[in-house]
């Protein structure tokens, strides 16, 4: 198979980060772009052959992995879906029975909405406007905090949100109290069974992901009593439903020494870099600078800042290699989030295909 000449191959596969501005930022997408040279720009087999994912770091809330052999558009699609379209549960409605704290009702409700909940959203359904809140689409939390008179001020933390598996405990104001005293008083939810009876929740009860998020501060004599209803939603609608704190990628840095750099100049180069990309190696004809940790490059461009240094160092990004990071807010583990995102993209593609066919 014919190869592209070097300068074109560089343009095809690398983003050059020059000192003044990056060039070749846009990928050449058209598969026939190099057809005249006998090179197929994109083909499926190459993708199947080359595509790989390697996990670099995985913690409870964070994942960093390399995604190689894919186009920026697709990597970006995952990022966008992660931020905006993977559903989670978040508090949407707050019923305030009493709030004598300084914090306003709306602000309190807003704060509650932003608290990440430790619950798998896949177990729930979306609740539309006309749906009644039931055990399938709503999680109910109660909060009753009070600061006694004479006591010092206290802080209401997110661990005081108590899961109410049987639904709301606030009674609905009814017009006719005398109709049927025997009938169970209606509340704001209509649960047919307790959520704690479901196997998924009996083991790990639903709670806020972090116990130490400040909700409000109470002075002596102040009290907050409320019920918060969490529903399923997506980040597109409101950032509180976004399952990630953020998700992003960066292209794999490539630092190339265009000429050999020796001795003093090499030491200078090593000193220039704040993230220690370069090292010095002893070779036959002196001490030579080598690129040891290109991954660490943050593109501060210190190494090429000084006049003439761009003759020695070239900073590039590999166009099809993404270092992808997902910071989960905790509803789902980060690796699951990514698979969810893939599933959503799959669904979307399927929808397009069915619509087209």
């Amino acid at each position: 198979m014919p190869e592209l000449p070097e300068h074109l191959e560089l343009k095809r596969t690398r983003v050059s980060c020059n000192f003044d501005a990056p060039t070749d930022t846009e990928p050449i997408l058209y598969s026939g772009a190099y057809a005249s040279m006998g090179v197929d720009n994109t083909n499926m087999e190459d993708f199947f052959k080359n595509f790989k994912i390697k996990i670099n770091r995985l913690t409870e809330d964070e994942i960093e992995f390399d995604m190689v052999g894919i186009d920026a558009a697709l990597a970006n699609a995952f990022r966008r879906i992660l931020i905006a379209e993977v559903p989670t549960m978040a508090i949407e409605k707050v019923f305030i029975a009493n709030n004598t704290s300084v914090i306003q009702d709306e602000v309190l409700a807003h704060r509650l909405g932003l608290i990440p909940l430790n619950v798998d959203p896949r177990l729930f359904e979306y609740k539309s406007e006309k749906d009644l809140p039931n055990e399938k689409n709503t999680i109910v939390f109660g909060l009753h905090a009070r600061c006694e008179r004479g006591a010092p001020r206290n802080t209401v933390k997110s661990d005081e949100l108590k899961w109410l598996p049987n639904g709301s405990e606030f009674l609905l104001a009814t017009e006719d109290n005398d109709s049927d005293p025997a009938a169970k008083a209606r509340t704001y939810t209509s649960f047919s069974c307790g959520q704690d009876s479901l196997p998924e929740f009996s083991v790990n009860p639903i709670c806020a992901r972090h116990p130490d998020i400040t909700i409000a501060r109470l002075g002596p004599g102040q009290e907050i009593e409320l019920e918060a209803h969490a529903v399923k939603g997506v980040g597109k609608e409101h950032a509180k439903w976004s399952p990630v704190a953020t998700a992003w990628y960066r292209m794999l840095p490539e630092v190339v020494l265009l000429q050999d750099v020796y001795d003093e100049k090499a030491e200078k180069l090593v000193r220039k870099c704040p993230v220690n990309v370069f090292d010095i190696e002893d070779v036959a004809n002196g001490r030579k600078a080598v690129v040891a940790r290109p991954r660490a490059c943050t593109l501060c461009r210190e190494c090429i800042r000084e006049e003439g240094w761009d003759q020695y160092v070239a900073l590039r990004r590999k166009r099809d290699h993404f270092i992808f990071t997902i910071e989960s807010t905790g509803a789902l583990p980060p690796e699951v989030l990514f698979t969810e995102a893939v599933k959503i993209l799959e669904d979307k593609c399927e929808r397009v295909i069915t619509e087209l066919s």
Binding site: P22, T25, V107, H238, A239, T298
Partner: protein, 1136 residues
């Protein structure tokens, strides 16, 4: 004071860091020290003087009956309610619409008795009125309280005070800028004539004396004379009959005498040679009846004008006119000097020639007037009683002191701002203003504002221009735009405005230090070379042969604390005068004294300050620091920094950033910005939303804008920490990317990140007060509140009501919901109805509804019940609304760069950096080149370095050399250390395509303010709606849901375009179409008779020639109005 600990612990470098003096200065004196000091002077000293001068009321019927005021004092702020004395706190007054005032007590001695038996009695603590108390002044309950005590009183510890609470509203008495009194000003009038003017102000009266030079001759101009008087005639009238003496007094320099010659000749030409002749001449020129105070003998009228009006502040004792002659001669000499040398002209805009009248002086003026009125009224009433031939009751003089007139007079003046005292010919409007409480910085800026006395319409640039003498005294940035630009000023951070000081001891001190008395000097000696005139507060004391020695002695005494620290000593070499000033209203500022260029403050002094063993006053007392006023600054050589000091240097600045005021102090790196941008920010900082005070939720402001999550700026300045802006911020640190995005960012619009808004960026709370008064009526009935009904027409709107009929806090109110279920009695006039009350049937429903746009909901924040000034029950609601930013809301950075939100875009569409940082807003780079706000770029860099190191960075004005501002180089180094580019430009990926952007993007945090202008309050559209009753045209204005007018110019466009149908529709059909009956015979309007179903003309008395036509109702109205004025408009109709 919020000073960063790290900084405190840092060792003091070789050049002594004097910054610590500023917080110490502000701690001792506060930001509004001038207001407080002037008020304190008035209530402690001024009021006593006024009362002492006017302490006797004697009856004109019986001179033995008198009342004498012995002592006056002001008590604690309190109010008498139902006979019980209740103490007042400012917060209580604010909430219940009361005046925060304290009783004025006097001790009186008066004659009482009846039927000839008189007895002298002393009465203690008679109340003559109530004096509004300035907050934080010495009679205020907040005086000297610490933070916890202030909190207990419901007061914000950061609030500076310096204002009054009158009828529940906070009123500031603004500083008034005036030309200084009793000083000679040489100037050029409109015709180009040289003029020397003196505005004399004494306790008795104010007068203006002008001496002008016209066609080489010199004249005197006073209002009391019809025409200008040749000056030599005046001199002669004052007893200087010899021309030689006049010339000697002016100075024997032949140039002066030659200039005086034409005037002397003119005088001789008039045939005036003796004093008698001069007085006779003057007599003919006296304005008739213009001087009612003159005594009856005609002869002395000219004399009395010369004595009492001409240069009135130079007093004539025992008919000795000599001081006046000398003063006039000095004026002449100054004028001739200026004639010969234009440099000797005075500059009216020079700050040294200005005086600032403060609240204490203004109130003292008002009080004096009211007190005198009260005395004359008491006298009148006593005389009336005494003149009755037979009085039976016991006479008590003290009964006739009415206390209401003083209280009401003061209260009225403060609440309306109209300062009116006929006695002193004072009539000013807008002296007191409602304290701006939109933002904390706004109210701080308001109390330091200076109001000009000039009219704003004059088209001269002089008074508006920045004066070099403003340096350090008045903020060069903080002035409004528009008509009052440059006229309204603000004080700089360390400025002090002096209050009056006792003159007597200073005068005798001057004589002791070798001033030769004026009385002993001949005219010849007056201007003898190598001696200087000594002028004290505009009065010529005498002369001194060794002026430098004299001034050094005075200054040494001042530094030793033997005379007041604000006494200024100024040697004017050019005029050969030493000016000593101790009068009030001069601006001055503290400076470090240097001996031969070496600062007197050594590091151990500063260490003692840091250890708390030394205070700012100790620095003053030990002669390390002194206050210099604008005039004395001319005798000093002030070095900016210790390192710059030369051997001749006499003073060193404390910190250069103190030349800016409070508002300009918020701007980081203002010295890198284009100057007008700083001015714009000064105006905008006052509109920024944020926190107002610690007690903001306990206050009941009519309109309150709060930010939900206000932040402290990442890039702070020293001023921010000094005034407490870091505790009551008004903005948020937004990560800004400077790039073009989406096209919705043209013309300064900004693009906002929706997720940031979701997370609370720019979220604000708007609170409005809604007071509801339960009226009492004359027939002893009153409004009442009843329980809500569960059924019926109103039930749906009464859901939010409590059982007491008042909406409860926390309820969500829709438009038209009932707030208070009020009922009003049917009959409110007529005979009194017994206390039993009316039956229910006698009440009609008058529920109070909430008004507002349909579909918008508000929440009841708080409800308070109190009684208003008429003792009616008043229910005040605080209505709250929480808003998130929307397209069209206005935002601004701290560099005068305002912009509206152009569009809101999803986070995933936003660009994202290599570290996953996504900006909160995007600003268009076109905002930079023409605005040249380099400070904003440095702020971005500094904040970025700040977030990466976790340390607040500083950007104080001119702070780089002294370490109060971080240098760009060090900031860049920090950025590089944390892996950013030194330039602050990041490598960003597009959020839409996913590939990198084609440029590095300047990105980092900038402190952004949300301004109070929001679309929600402004947007307006209407299809159909209310009309004005009289013209039947749509109403005007958003508040009345008015229509959008097709104005004259719009009409012109439509005419030019020829869109006649559109014109017809807009001007007629959409406005006020009316079908009129017109009589073809007489051309007048008829009417339509509905019974006969025909038109009828009432002037022709027939319905035969009636036609129907359409015309605007306003047109018909015009015809009728013309008819009412006896003009008959007749319509001539024709077929088309």
């Amino acid at each position: 004071m919020g000073i960063d600990k790290q900084f405190m612990a840092a060792p003091i470098g070789s050049a002594v860091d004097k910054f610590q003096l500023i917080p110490e200065f502000l701690k001792v004196r506060g930001l509004v020290r001038e207001h407080l000091e002037s008020y304190n002077y008035f209530v402690n000293t001024g009021i006593k003087k006024i009362v002492r001068v006017n302490n006797l009321i004697t009856s004109s019927v019986d001179p033995n009956i008198y009342l004498r005021f012995k002592d006056v004092r002001i008590g604690e702020p309190s109010v008498v309610v139902d006979g019980v004395n209740e103490k007042l706190t400012p917060q209580f007054c604010r909430l219940s619409d009361m005046t925060y005032a304290a009783p004025i007590y006097v001790n009186v001695e008066c004659v009482t008795g009846s039927h000839g038996e008189k007895e002298i009695r002393e009465k203690k603590d008679v109340i003559i009125g109530r004096m509004p108390v300035m907050l934080r002044s010495c009679y205020c309950v907040l005086h000297g309280k610490d933070e916890a005590e202030l909190a207990r009183l419901g007061e914000c510890p950061l609030d500076p005070g310096g204002y009054f609470v009158v009828k529940g509203t906070e009123k500031v008495v603004l500083m008034q800028e005036q030309l200084s009194n009793n000083r000679i000003i040489i100037d050029v009038d409109k015709k180009g004539n040289l003029i020397a003017s003196v505005t004399s102000s004494t306790a008795a009266l104010r007068s203006k004396t002008n001496i002008l030079m016209e066609k080489e001759k010199i004249y005197l101009q006073i209002n009391q004379f019809q025409t200008k008087i040749p000056i030599i005639v005046v001199m002669k009238a004052m007893g200087m009959e010899s021309d030689q003496e006049v010339v000697q007094m002016v100075g024997r320099d032949p140039r002066y005498s030659s200039l005086l010659l034409p005037s002397v000749e003119e005088c001789a030409g008039l045939g005036v040679h003796t004093q008698q002749q001069a007085l006779e001449f003057l007599e003919t020129k006296v304005k008739m009846a213009s001087y009612p105070g003159a005594s009856v003998e005609k002869e002395s009228r000219a004399m009395s004008i010369l004595r009492d009006v001409f240069i009135a502040h130079v007093l004539v004792r025992k008919n000795n006119f000599r001081p006046k002659c000398i003063y006039a001669a000095v004026m002449l000499r100054r004028m001739l000097e200026a004639f010969l040398n234009k440099d000797a002209m005075d500059d009216k805009d020079y700050v040294g020639n200005k005086r600032f009248e403060l609240s204490g002086q203004l109130i003292s003026l008002l009080f004096e007037d009211l007190f005198k009125t009260m005395i004359s009224e008491a006298k009148k009433m006593a005389d009336k009683v005494l003149s009755k031939p037979s009085r039976s009751s016991r006479f008590d003089f003290s009964q006739y002191i009415v206390k209401d007139s003083i209280s009401l007079g003061l209260e009225r003046a403060l609440s309306t701002g109209n300062w009116y005292a006929k006695r002193f010919r004072v009539d000013r409007k807008g002296v007191s203003q409602v304290l701006q409480r939109l933002s904390f910085i706004g109210s701080m800026g308001h109390v330091t504002r200076i109001q000009p006395q000039f009219e704003k319409s004059r088209k001269v640039s002089g008074p508006r221009a920045l004066q070099p003498s403003q340096w350090g005294m008045l903020c060069p940035c903080d002035t409004p735009e528009g008509e009052s630009c440059g006229l309204v000023k603000n004080l700089a951070l360390m400025t002090h405005v002096t209050t009056d000081e006792e003159e007597g001891p200073l005068i005798s001190l001057c004589y002791l230090l070798g001033v030769e008395d004026l009385q002993l000097l001949s005219g010849e000696e007056l201007h003898s070379p190598n001696s200087f005139l000594v002028i004290f507060n505009g009065l010529i004391l005498g002369k001194h042969r060794r002026p430098q020695h004299f001034s050094n002695a005075m200054r040494r005494l001042r530094r030793a604390g033997k005379i007041g620290e604000f006494v200024s000593v100024f040697v004017n070499e050019k005029q050969r005068c030493v000016y000593i000033a101790s009068d009030g209203g001069r601006v001055c500022r503290p400076l470090v004294i240097a001996d031969k260029g070496v600062s007197r403050i050594k590091w151990h002094h500063m260490k003692e300050l840091l250890d708390g063993v030394r205070t700012f006053d100790d620095f003053l007392r030990d002669g390390l620091i002194e206050y210099l006023d604008v005039n004395e600054e001319n005798n000093a050589l002030i070095a900016l920094y210790e390192g710059d000091a030369l051997p001749e240097t006499t003073h060193i600045e404390i910190e250069p950033f103190t030349i800016l005021g409070v508002c300009a102090g918020l701007i980081p790196f203002p010295h890198h910005n284009q100057s007008p941008r700083n001015t714009y920010q000064c105006a905008m900082g006052k509109q920024a939303m944020g926190n107002i005070s610690y007690n903001q939720l306990c206050r009941m402001d009519t309109l309150l804008y709060l930010l939900v999550y206000p932040q402290r700026p990442l890039l702070t300045t020293r001023t921010i920490e000094l005034v407490g802006y870091d505790k009551l911020g008004a903005g948020q640190n937004a990560t800004v990317a400077v790039m073009s995005y989406s096209g919705y960012d043209i013309e300064d619009a900004i693009v906002m990140n929706k997720s940031s808004l979701d997370r609370g960026f720019g979220r604000c709370i708007v609170m409005k007060k809604k007071p509801i008064v339960l009226q009492k009526y004359e027939n002893n009935t009153s409004d009442r509140i009843i329980r809500p009904t569960k059924e019926g027409y109103f039930a749906e709107r009464m859901q939010t009501l409590d059982y007491d009929g008042i909406t409860a806090p926390g309820e969500i109110i829709r438009s038209d919901d009932i707030l208070v279920n009020k009922e009003t009695p049917m009959i409110t006039r007529g005979p009194t109805i017994s206390s039993g009350g009316l039956p229910d049937s006698q009440y009609k429903r008058t529920p109070v509804k909430s008004v507002g746009p349909v579909g918008q909901t508000t929440v009841v924040e708080r409800v308070i019940c109190c009684s208003d000034k008429n003792n009616n029950l008043c229910i005040k609601f605080m209505m709250r609304e929480t808003r998130r930013p929307e397209v069209g809301d206005k935002f601004s950075s701290r560099h005068g760069q305002k912009g509206v939100c152009g569009t809101i875009i999803q986070q995933e569409d936003f660009p994202v950096s290599e570290r996953g940082i996504c900006p909160d807003l995007i600003m268009n780079p076109h905002g930079f080149p023409s605005r040249m706000t380099v400070g904003k770029m440095i702020e971005l860099l500094g904040s970025k370095a700040g977030v990466s190191t976790g340390r607040f960075h500083y950007g104080s004005a001119f702070g780089e050399p002294s370490g109060h501002a971080d240098k760009v180089e060090t900031i860049s180094e920090t950025l590089v250390k944390h892996g950013f580019s030194y330039s602050g430009k990041d490598f960003l990926y597009s959020g839409i395509t996913g590939s990198p952007l084609q440029a590095y993007i300047f990105m980092g945090p900038i402190y952004y303010q949300k301004l109070k202008h929001m679309v929600l309050d402004k947007m307006h559209a209407r299809a159909m709606g209310p009309r004005v009753m009289m013209t039947r045209q749509p109403t005007e204005g958003r508040s009345r849901n008015g229509g959008l007018r097709v104005g004259e110019m719009e009409r012109d466009c439509l005419i030019a375009y020829g869109a006649s149908s559109l014109l017809y529709e807009r001007l007629m059909l959409s406005s006020d179409p009316f079908e009129a009956q017109v009589c073809r015979a007489c051309g007048l309007l008829g009417y339509y008779n509905h019974k006969l179903k025909t038109g009828f003309c009432s002037s022709c008395r027939s319905g035969n020639n009636i036609s129907t036509m359409k015309l605007p109702y306003a047109c018909k109205l015009l015809f009728q109005e013309l008819q009412s004025m006896n003009i008959v408009p007749r319509l001539k109709l024709a077929e088309v």
